[in-house]
Amino acid sequence: MQLFSKAFWLQFSSPKAFYPFAGKLIPWFTALAAVFAVVGLYLSFFVAPTDYQQGESYRIMFIHVPAAWMSMFIYLVMCIYAGLGLVLNTRLSNMMAAALAPTGAMFTFLALWTGALWGKPTWGTYWVWDARLTSELILLFLYFGYIALQAAIDDPQRAARASGLLAIVGVINIPIIYFSVQWWNTLHQGASVTVTQAPTMAATMFAAMIVMTLAFWMYTIAVALVRVRQLILERERHAAWVLELAEAEK
């Protein structure tokens, strides 16, 4: 079985081998993302019934919750890649970490945005200092820090390692931050409402949320692969194969 041999997987750890491999994967993930999105949107708007308390506004949940999940999940995956890059000193994992960051930051922002739009009709205010929203905001700051540090350092190798270390410091801190914010929130109970407490969730609602999450996830993989291919070309631009490839693709 080719799939289980180590050599089969190792060959893709070099940017040169990974580039065409990623190119083959991108259409598949794009297609999957589209299919999941269509199914997910259908479930969210046409199958899931109207909520008797919140009316139609609760449908925001079908993108808010997946976006929030993605924002955390992407940060975690980014840290795993950054850790691999630091320990094994593999360029490709550093590039993967860098490729995921902008999309992760985008989902974090979207989680905040949709959370605010959901909060207004539900609690009458766009922003509440709820534990989850606050943690999400801090997560956005962590993403900004990561991207800013990477952008500020000229040497790509150093940028990758420095921001990788930062991501790991961040991931160690996230549980502590989350726990602190929870504590802080329970202390100041008066000002808070729990935001993502879903109404007793029907199976269809849960299914819609899962399918939408899958759509976002496939989208993220496709976009990250496109971006990592660009990073490979940029950083290896002195290699002969990159230039040949550029001329061939013209």
């Binding site: 109207t50 976006a67 739009l117 002195h238 040949e244 550029a246 001329e247 013209k250």
Partner: protein, 64 residues
């Protein structure tokens, strides 16, 4: 089926601004990201082609 008519669907039970505001902005952001990536790829390719041309003509990059 939740909606009697297309207008019903658009109205979202009176929450159109919030629901479509969420979905619309999400779609917009995903779209912007894709467009930016495509643009970046175009400029990158142009730069690589320029580099390749310089190399072929034995320019300053050829020694490295």
């Amino acid at each position: 089926m939740n909606w009697g008519s297309f207008a019903d669907f658009l109205a979202m039970g009176g929450y159109a601004f919030y629901v479509w505001g969420s979905y619309g902005v999400t779609a917009l952001f995903l779209l912007i990201e894709v467009v930016l990536l495509m643009k970046r790829r175009r400029t990158l390719m142009q730069r690589l082609l320029r580099l390749a041309r310089i190399n072929r003509e034995g320019g300053y990059e050829s020694k490295t």
